[in-house]
Symmetry: C2
Subunit: 219 residues, 2 copies
DNA sequence: ACAAAACTAAGTATAAATACTTAATTTTAA
DNA sequence: TTAAAATTAAGTATTTATACTTAGTTTTGT
């Protein structure tokens, strides 16, 4: 049974999510909070597996709360809720250490998929998150010395939205089968995208692709 | 022509290296320095391709000098020289941003290989450096949030010296052909080591291997 | 509305990775 | 000195990646 705590300052929203989730075997909403501070208290007390937390709340917003959860090394997976697909919010959520990000308008299926995935230790970011990550520098992946050596090159081409998504997954070292599953495309399609990326970035193999991506600040 | 500057406080050592290198077409020692500070001055003035610099020198040691070179984004490749294969020195050299590391007792062939490789933009670290890297945490590769989440697991097994070397190269996304070349073994040997690593770390593919390596702090 | 670009997915072929094993040689530890 | 462990490298087979192309459909821009 996946125990879930909901944090949102609107009762109607909480009730709606509760109704959506509890219809589902295996997920139970064990407590609720109406702001970030209260969420921290409730988690300390009840130790749920998953926290679904709104980004915008009074007293303490969801991003600060998730950052605090990670600072305290609390053993709970966190799913961010937002009204709209804000690039700023997505980036801040990831930087705060959130395990997932969902829109309030997401379908029941997507909600369930997200809860189950983060409960199992995975990540779940809705929509166009891969290309948002591409467009942002969220991971300081190198030593300072290496950073100072890498020249940020001007891209001599553009990557399409889909290509950015594919690239992000390739750089996570996912194989074509997994990429296909994750993007709901066929394996052959993933293969061709990968091939096209190699051509665009003039890379002969995965290693060169990764290095080129770093050079162009694509990760 | 590869222009080289030597930095070492002992004239005899400089003379010895100079004799060793200048016998070789394509490499010219254009200036010398006897400490780190002097090395910086000489580089500013003469702009060599490669700096070969002793670690232990008066006034400013080699590590600090290389770190300063990188801080100032000076366009010169740096090769560290050390009397012995010290783990501490190797790690510090890498952290300072050195392109290579050699022992004073290295053969002429190794010297030439190292100079040519770093001049061409590559890295050259002598001896047992891959396993030294494995045993140390030299790259802060994650956001703080991710770091706080990753539990440092106790390895339920040991990796042999060779396995560590192979793992380091696999994690650099090198293919078996390149690994074989770099370690002077056959491609089939590299394949078997890779296979054995997958088994030891219970990874199904490169992605899982990378993640396991992170979990166990192997990179 | 239409053309261009992007996405999708099939085809065929080669190379590499993965899977698993066997076995000789070298290195290391006892 | 000897036995065990590690390294090396071959074998065969399956799966995946890479390479390149063609072509229909969908999306986007004009």
């Amino acid at each position: 049974m996946i125990n879930v705590v909901l944090a949102d300052d609107h009762v109607l929203v909480r009730d709606g999510i509760k109704a959506l989730l509890e219809d589902q075997t295996g997920i139970m909403v064990i407590d609720e909070a109406s702001n970030g501070k209260e969420a921290l208290e409730v988690i300390s007390k009840n130790k749920p597996h998953v926290l679904i937390i709104d980004i915008r709340m009074p007293e303490m917003n969801g991003i600060d709360a998730v950052a605090e959860i990670n600072r305290r090394k609390m053993d709970v997976k966190t799913l961010m809720l937002s009204m709209h697909d804000s690039e700023e919010y997505v980036v801040k959520s990831i930087q705060a250490g959130a395990d997932g990000y969902l829109l309030k308008g997401a379908s029941k299926e997507e909600f369930l998929k997200a809860v189950n995935k983060v409960a199992a230790g995975g990540k779940y970011f809705t929509g166009d998150v891969s290309s948002i990550i591409m467009n942002n520098f969220v991971n300081g992946n190198t030593t300072k010395a290496e950073e100072s050596k890498t020249v940020i090159k001007e891209l001599p081409f553009q990557l399409t939205k889909r290509e950015k998504q594919i690239l992000a997954l390739v750089l996570e070292l996912k194989n074509n089968k997994d990429i296909a599953e994750e993007l709901s495309i066929s394996k052959r399609t993933a293969e061709v995208h990968r091939f096209n990326l190699m051509k665009k970035l003039e890379a002969k193999n995965l290693q060169e692709l990764t290095n080129k991506a770093k050079e162009y600040r694509l990760i």
